[in-house]
Symmetry: C2
């Protein structure tokens, strides 16, 4: 009544492609459209977004995760979310904040001695080469605790967090210079630089804004605090920045709100911040010569605050580093055109898109033509001396992105719930599209680079209201995909955002990303270096130093080595585990029952689970990633002996099940039959042009590994049988068969792959 | 050069629906299909899944988040992820584990004194009434630390975590009885009950499995540990369970693996667990009479372990509570048919689907026809006395789900990477479909209930390999949507899983869910009760008790009350904040710069941010949810005075900006013009049948609120103007305008809604 895998079944069900032929649907396309209420326009949108099994997306979008502290990665145009990358918030699936290696990164983000386990991520930026996105590293800021995270796009893992040494609040990060020289981070709400104290009555005198230029070392893939500097700014609320490019390279542009320097106090009858911070018609665009500031910093004309070099305002004025220009009421986006000639600003409480000319700004600076200075002595360029054009767009212009077509920019209109398409050269409104609802930022493909890719625009809508099935009082946000290839914008797709509130998204051509498929053996993925405690199979061991126990372990489907670890109550135990798989997707996990630890071990990775065995008991450890048919059996025991435990006089453990020669013979016969099946799958594959498919070549390599392991177990089985040790002979024969099953599993995947990718018999 | 919102622009861009008309695409459908490589079959799949803006999904799926410790909610057939619900892992977007109210839930999950901040979630279950899913509550287990989380589907929030008092490991949870009387949780790896210690050499004697029946109190929406009990079981690795239904109601069925009771030790030359745990051809299906066990428990025939009542095996044998039946090698799924008559089991290392007859099992029990007992004395029913039929399916049958069509079941084949459709009454294989790749569980719509809904099946595939754009060594999993409405299964859609590894999904008809749109004013969402510290607008205050400071606060767009909070270094500060919005989606957040705290405040909710002001400084607090055009201005300051700070002799703060009568007149004139625009929007709405759209009625109510607030600010402005206090007159006039902007924002959303939902002019 029990049929383990055998030749007959494999032959009838797996090899003969039973049931795999496509069958005609009972319904016609028209019937389906009628049933689901789809129009012709909907079908066109479906055709432009639907991605069949195995299909690829053209662009990859990296969205800030807002208060989730993560980055969301999704494909365009399918709008399918591919991954969340943890940056500021611990996330156990990735082991982030649970293994010792990633804790070291997360704890770089401690601020003033406090552990912080979340972040309010806002603006991601991808490294650039000559102003083009190059897909090597990704930066993102935290508004709540002024920090920046560095993610390697080689493995989509966070590798560094830096804390801003002088700001108490920031928002305007991260923005990158055209050759990734600096990552720019600006203050938001003014504070006492260095996070000091002063009474709010001295707001104008003692509170300040600032902007930090973080030096990026591309070779190391790390920000270098020791080579970074800041510039002191007035206590306006600095907001977003964009770096100049091409003709404006060397400059950066930062807008601000609350140039009124208003301090609220509604509880004392004062009008609230929102009234006092939005009273004036204009705020200030900050125009900064960062290249010159770098020289000033290198010349040592700085004040050290919290051990960080700051160019003070007096120096900035004397050296001509910072200029102000009036910009429309409560602006958000400041975006430099692909040719670097124009700076487009939207004022949230204005109705226009305002285009500043870099040439005019430079002319005013050179001519020292200023309309005056602000209360801190910073020179102000008159708006009329800097503006190229202004275009009436609608209510709440917020953020701008550029098309691949010359002079075309898209602006989000928050209050209108619309996107405006306009010509920033000629100053002409071209098209508007209603979105749902209240769009914040928007993103066009590579829309912030010197070569925007056009094609798609995504509106990052803050409110979804009625767009999706209800899921309780906390609603998803709504990212709407828009086709911008034609003259008119066309809405294609609504994507609910299931976690956090993205502020900005950056999107790159998928083929620019070249992530690793596996790690070099024994890699600490958080440093990118070889892990000093990685071991190869055969070298696993347990070392004790006082009450510290180190377990040097390997993981391969479907067992850990060692399987039993005995320690004493109170010991500190480190499991340092290397995944010794070669298959690219054979990730293993590791947790110890009732302990607060989980590892994600991708092939080649080494990571450490550290626990204090504070309570006696016998705890399972197991693989937390469904890795194989024998996944549930990939387990072991951590035995924690009580402090006062006295070993009983040692009766050996009795086997739960005893095996005889008959069991051995049965298992062996089954293995022989299984091998015939495997051979037939191998024949099927090798008769075809499998070498044309790298994925299949890799699967075949993995299957070969498994069959080598099988041979090893077979030898052990035969050795035991020669000694008439039927217990071990049977069990090793079982293990031999387990490796066969793994080989068959891989072989069948390879076969399916070949069938579906049109491999031909040779 | 600056144009704040005014009549002309509103009239030309917002009221006249500029650019909103659908335009024909430049490409034809055929051209798009060619460009994107789509076949006719693909277009049919697109038509069956594409959901245009505002469309609704027919089913809502709740997927375990695996090692992420969360639950993923997605729509079917669109396969769009709608929400992540945090259960065992802190998640800041939801404030979970960051506000004091949710910390209280999370910390219920402490185990043996240890804080645990993740979970390995496996099997979600929705409450049932008469065997049908009713959509009220959702349960999910943690394999790593034996716990169960309870999620209310009224607000999609976790409200309870219970810790299993006796298990060191579990996996087989959660499964629910047909009227939600009990939630069932079974051990996985054997341990010493109560998490005690014994040497592994005494595995057979001292290690045990067990099954726990958690009593659910539906009225309270809580599990009741005080009314729950367990049954001791042999040290097999118990796995999944299903409760009997209809004819088999009162019984439950639990399978197991490693009935060999093997203890590995590869480091000492022993074959690994995977070999020793899969040597025998069969394991044991546990058949349990839970109704009778409940009586035995109530009669007090229990042993207390860790203060928890356990029916020991001797009692279970004497009372006839537990029976064993051989089941095929290393089984996973055990699934009771909708009519309750059959139990379908797949053995992962077998090749068949095995169908047991409840009637035959009962006949054997009544006739006391047993083939013997296991080593612990549990009676064994011979497989041939219980089996109804067995069907050859393929390699690695894992889990089963039922169709709405009678006698149809779907079984996942892990090793084959296929789904088998078969007739469990007649014992006939009907169809097979290749999936990509290595399917674990599968789910049919309401497929575990007495009335499966059919239509769709989802394969939960463990490996995606080549299906999606590469995102580094840690790959997404792949959920494949399959149309099961016809005779042949048809693959419709591949959904990457971006976070965690779902084990099981349960899916319910969307219209059975009736979540709240907002909370009753001042609700502690984690208890569902009124929060004792909630305040109404006007009652905000700061109370000090020694070094403890409580700030009773409200949040409404776009300000907090109070806006300035002054404390002393070392004070403990609690911000207890109530969101006083009535609009359903106007969620606010709250964080204090550089502190580890974030709140998610949906309308009506009250939550608490508690910090220790351990370092002097002036820190911003702000709204972390983009709530309105003035979102960035929704801020305040926490001033933490240094311990030894001496107040300087008090020059009053100077205003950053002074206003004159001219400023007041300008602002007032602008407000009057804005009001005309708002009136025109109001006219547009009220001339149409807006009362037919509840969402619009709710928006209009909200706009009315804002205009009432505007009137209040207008009064304050006029009062100040009467005193020639132009500073306050101007600022309150600004605030009056801010409320107008909020009203306009809402009005324009309402207008868009009416336009898109075919409202008619009356």
């Amino acid at each position: 009544m029990v049929k383990t895998f055998n030749k007959r079944l494999l032959a009838t069900t797996a090899i003969v492609a039973f049931g795999m032929a496509a069958t005609a649907s009972a319904e016609t396309l028209e019937e389906v459209m009628t049933r689901r209420g789809l129009s012709q326009t909907d079908m066109m949108a479906a055709a432009k977004t639907y991605t069949p099994t195995g299909g690829r997306d053209e662009f990859i979008a990296f969205a800030s995760g807002g208060q989730s502290g993560q980055i969301m990665v999704y494909g365009v145009p399918s709008m399918r979310i591919l991954k969340y990358i943890s940056v500021f918030t611990p996330e156990p699936w990735q082991g982030y904040g649970f293994d010792e290696e990633s804790k070291a990164v997360l704890r770089q983000g401690n601020i003033d001695g406090r552990e912080i386990n979340w972040g309010d991520t806002h603006h991601p930026a991808i490294t650039e080469t000559n102003g083009d996105l190059d897909g090597e590293y990704l930066f993102i800021n935290d508004k709540s605790a002024p920090r920046i995270g560095v993610v390697s796009l080689h493995d989509f893992e966070t590798q560094q967090i830096v804390v801003n040494p002088i700001l108490q609040s920031e928002h305007g990060g991260t923005f990158i210079t055209p050759n990734s020289e600096y990552v720019i981070e600006a203050a938001q709400y003014p504070g006492v630089l260095g996070r000091g104290y002063a009474p709010l009555s001295q707001f104008n005198e003692k509170f300040r804004g600032a902007i930090t230029y973080w030096k990026f070392n591309r070779e190391k893939g790390r920000l270098e605090p020791e080579n970074s500097f800041s510039i002191e700014l007035p206590p306006y609320s600095q907001d977003l920045t964009d770096a100049g490019k091409l003709v404006s390279d060397g400059w950066s542009f930062t807008n601000s709100f609350c140039a009124e320097r208003y301090v609220g106090g509604i509880e004392n009858g004062r009008p609230p911040f929102e009234a006092g911070c939005s009273q004036n018609d204009t705020d200030y665009l900050h125009v900064i010569n960062w290249r010159k500031a770098e020289e000033v910093y290198k010349a040592g004309k700085v004040t050290m605050i919290n051990n960080h070099p700051v160019i003070m305002m007096d120096t900035a004025i004397a050296e001509g580093l910072v200029y102000l220009i009036a910009e429309p009421k409560s602006p958000h986006g400041v975006d430099v055109s692909p040719d670097g000639k124009y700076i487009v600003v939207g004022g949230k409480l204005d109705t226009q898109g305002s285009v500043y000319s870099f040439e005019k700004i430079q002319a005013a600076i050179e001519a020292k033509k200023f309309s005056g200075t602000d209360p801190y002595g910073l020179p102000i360029i008159a708006m009329e001396d800097a503006i190229h054009t202004q275009v009436a767009l609608g209510l709440g212009p917020l953020h701008n992105q550029f098309d691949s077509k010359p002079c075309i920019v898209y602006t989000s209109l928050y209050v209108d719930s619309m996107i405006a398409k306009w010509d920033y050269c000629e100053g002409k409104l071209l098209d508007k599209l209603a979105i749902h609802y209240n769009v914040g930022h928007l993103v066009a493909m590579e829309g912030e680079s010197v070569h925007p890719a056009g094609k798609y625009l995504i509106a990052l809508n803050k409110l979804a209201i009625d767009r999706f099935n209800p899921v309780g009082p906390l609603h998803p946000q709504n990212h709407q995909l828009i086709d911008i290839s034609g003259d008119k914008m066309e809405l294609l797709y609504d994507m609910p955002v299931p976690l956090g509130e993205p502020h900005y998204v950056t999107a790159i051509a998928a083929d620019k990303l070249k992530p690793l498929v596996r790690y070099p053996y024994g890699t600490n993925s958080r440093t990118g270096e070889k892990h000093p405690d990685a071991v190869r199979p055969g070298s696993e061991r347990i070392e004790r130093d006082g009450t510290n126990v180190k377990v040097f372990m390997t993981a391969i489907r479907s067992h850990f080595t060692p399987e039993i670890v005995e320690v004493n109550e109170g010991d500190t135990v480190e499991f340092i585990i290397t995944n010794s798989e070669r298959a690219e997707d054979e990730t293993h996990g590791f947790s110890v029952s009732t302990y607060d630890v989980n590892l994600s071990l991708e092939p080649g990775k080494t990571a450490t689970a550290k626990i204090v065995a504070d309570r006696p008991g016998v705890y399972s450890y197991y693989c937390t990633e469904f890795c194989s048919a024998l996944h549930l059996e990939m387990t072991g025991y951590l035995a924690v002996k009580p402090k006062d435990y006295v070993e009983e006089a040692g009766a050996a453990a009795e086997e739960g099940q005893a095996y005889t020669q008959a069991d051995f013979d049965k298992q062996t016969a089954n293995n022989v039959a299984t091998q015939e099946v495997i051979d037939s799958v191998v024949t099927y594959i090798t008769e075809r042009n499998y070498k044309d498919f790298p994925e299949v070549v890799s699967l075949v390599e993995d299957a070969t590994d498994q069959l080598n392991f099988a041979a090893d177990s077979k030898a052990k089985s035969e050795e035991a049988a020669a000694k008439q040790d039927w217990q071990n002979a049977t069990l090793w024969a079982g293990q031999w068969w387990q490796y066969q099953v793994k080989a068959a599993d891989i072989g069948l995947r390879a076969k399916t792959f070949l069938d579906e990718h049109g491999a031909v018999k040779q």
